[in-house]
Symmetry: C3
Subunit: 342 residues, 3 copies
């Protein structure tokens, strides 16, 4: 569990993405900081994954400086060995009883590795979200990673905010985007923001991606937020040949209070796009975030510093509705969790 206890800003009992499965081969280790805890991901010989706190219980050497044989990770300092459940499987200096390292529940689905920083028991009742459009049999799929120098909540705000398109991404703005209203709806725990453009002439790049050159289309952007920090952005295009579209996942995992692992994917159904069209889509997504969103969000964080954004009394605009609802939802869940453990 995270050591940040001063002011809980993380939901502990939740699944967070810790990486893409394809990036950890059998017998490999990979350290990553999550919710301010140093964690070590391990791919065992049988292909299964484990996640251990990356700190030997003896003298606190990082286990990631030791050796992993596919079953046991051996501390490089005095040779204590631990299995993927964190149980001590080797002590060259005495009994193993009472020696253990904390293990986090792990799941792997659709190419995503998920970990659960909270109570292991509680993880049994909840599965990480699944995403049909990550199935490479039917969809083109791409994924990427960026390191955000910002509170994960600023990064959620950014994706939930469909109002910044024409300002931060001028190349993506059209007269129809400017005219389109933003709708926010809540359905159970899911908060959805959408913006529908009618009779829009897409930019040359987008027209190519969606096979709609020389046409006017109807385009709908929909972002669905699932606490704590998973967002699905769906683009639906209605054009002369019928419907097409794309989907991108924006999966945020807090690294520290002011930095975030940003795992993202982009997908298009194979029947909707050639590989070349899809690659153009996926490349643009990365470029726009890297060059336009990320510098803005990192700069926001710099101005906010170590304060909570609320302390600075931000001016609220109508366009903030989705982000405000998402932050409120998160805050309630974190407060409830804190109460249950008080």
């Amino acid at each position: 569990m995270s050591e940040n206890v001063e002011r809980p800003m993380f939901l502990q009992n939740a699944w967070y993405v810790a990486g893409f499965g394809s990036e950890i081969g059998t017998g490999e280790m990979r350290p990553i900081r999550i919710l301010d805890c140093a964690i070590l991901l391990l791919r065992r010989t049988d292909g299964s994954l484990a996640a251990l706190v990356d700190r030997c219980p003896h003298r606190f050497a990082p286990l990631s400086l030791g050796h992993f044989d596919g079953v046991q990770v051996t501390c490089g300092y005095h040779g204590l060995g631990f299995d993927g459940n964190g149980a001590c499987s080797q002590n060259p200096h005495g009994p193993t009883a009472g020696l253990k390292v904390q293990a986090w529940p792990v799941r792997e689905h659709d190419g995503l590795i998920w970990v659960w920083p909270g109570e292991a028991d509680a993880a049994e009742a909840v599965e990480p979200p699944r995403f049909a459009m990550l199935d490479e049999a039917t969809a083109h799929v791409n994924h990427g990673y960026l390191h955000g120098r910002a509170d994960y909540r600023l990064m959620i705000d950014n994706i939930l905010d469909l109002s910044h398109i024409e300002f931060l991404h001028p190349a993506l703005g059209t007269p129809e985007v400017r005219k389109a209203k933003i709708e926010v709806t809540t359905d159970g725990d899911v908060i959805t923001v959408s913006r529908a453009m009618n009779g829009e002439t897409l930019s040359e790049g987008l027209a190519h991606v969606y096979g709609a050159a020389g046409q006017k289309v109807d385009r709908t952007l929909t972002v669905a937020f699932n606490a704590p920090s998973n967002l699905v952005l769906t683009v639906r295009i209605e054009r002369e040949q019928g419907r097409t579209g794309s989907q991108s996942l924006h999966l945020f995992t807090p690294e520290t209070a002011t930095s975030t692992h940003y795992f993202y994917t982009s997908s298009m159904w194979r029947e909707d796009a050639t590989r070349e069209q899809f690659d153009a889509f996926a490349g643009a997504l990365t470029r726009v975030f890297l060059n336009e969103d990320k510098p803005m969000i990192d700069a926001q964080q710099e101005r906010i510093g170590n304060r909570e954004i609320g302390e600075l009394k931000p001016a609220l605009l109508k366009i903030d509705k989705g982000a405000v609802l998402a932050r409120r939802k998160l805050e309630q869940m974190i407060a409830r969790e804190a109460e249950e453990h008080a």
Copy 2:
């Protein structure tokens, strides 16, 4: 107003130099941190300057990452626009009422840009100081900027202290400097330190600057301190052909508690020096400060750390009189200001 409230070390209601006017062209923006506030200087189409807090009131993006059209600065994130008074002049998402960004009073005189971090109303009653020797019609004028890694008060101490010449600047020391007494006088709010050398043979470099090769001269150095942080150093030379001299301004603007913007100028009357003589003077001034004063002051700050110098109980010497009086004056003004706002 500065956000540093723990222990007030800055006078808020005062003019501070924020830059040289020639360095901001029409339609240009320039961010600078002053008294621990991020500020954005703007040169409007009509040539006038404005200073806004560089933080959008909406989600705290730096306005400096947006666009300035010569009248309005538009936030790059969601398009709020503000004029030079900080009033919201554009909100693509709703009404502008209630939206504003703090503006600091600005003045521009003699090539210097001044800003006022305190209450805007109070600025009306006070004008920034004027300097006749910054008039390029009658004087050669040069200016420069250095970033000090030290509390602005250590930098004031340094300029007010005419006793360090022969120790820190051996090339400037002469037997006459060593013999000359240091006088300190107070006239209203101005504290003046002076040192008069009689029958001095100047170093070769200085003799050239002042047209006094092969002569003995009388030389007087006078530094006048005006709170909070403006110093005028005047050199008067009496030589066979009559009086000559030079003047330099040392204008300190706190950036943070331990760093300082150091704006300086050097001047000689055109009738007293050729451009070549003046350039030799101005170049030496920069060189000496950069290579001799600045390393010493930065190192002082390192030894003092985050403490107030008084906590360390410095040994007081007679030569500190000017600096002690200046610090006392400043402290009184800061305390009075704090009281008035308590």
Copy 3:
């Protein structure tokens, strides 16, 4: 005396190594931070050493930015001069009475410079340890320095811990090492850890160093800890031609709470080894520490952060006995010292 008063983690009244005598020539100065104090070592014209707090009592300029003439160090800012006892020997601006800089007792023996951060009077009653094997007449001697990014106590733990050899230094592990028990004994204030290997076939490198190629030998490693932070590691080899061996000193001086000056020496009796054999020994020692121990200890510190290791509740193994006893001894001495000054 150290300025770290929050939680005393340093013993003040003790000798600490500040350098190797050969590295400071006559008339030379050398700044070093010890127990979080900036200290200036001076080698006077008469060859004797002095240690002054490296901060002028006037305006806190580092004295190390001034000049040293072999007798007096002159502050580079306003010319105050101090002798090696810290007494003011020159004030160009007034009387010297009442001006002084703190001087630390210094000793120089066997090529090592020792300083005493605590009360100068108390130093009179205690001499720094002496080491016969630093005498170049009878021994080959080498010395080195490494900067540890760790609490000095983690570095003591490491040397006192003879159990990590086969894990952290696989090239040094043999089947006999694995079998050998670790013994811990306490004799007065000295804590000794030893490990005896019988009938061991040394690695090729060690066999060459100890002239025991093609033999089985008995090897004993013994580490003796003397508070606060001096360790002597003795290797004794019994081989066909008789006894041989080596000795290394591991002398730790806290720089800050989380960094350490590590001075080490290695020695072999001249009658036991050629220079070439000795150089092979000394080179291996540095290589192993630099490449294997240091990265592990620095990483330990990173995981422990600013906390005391005890707060994290380390799992105790039998092999920790020596380190635990040494830490307890140190803690008692520090607590007693703190009480005496309360």
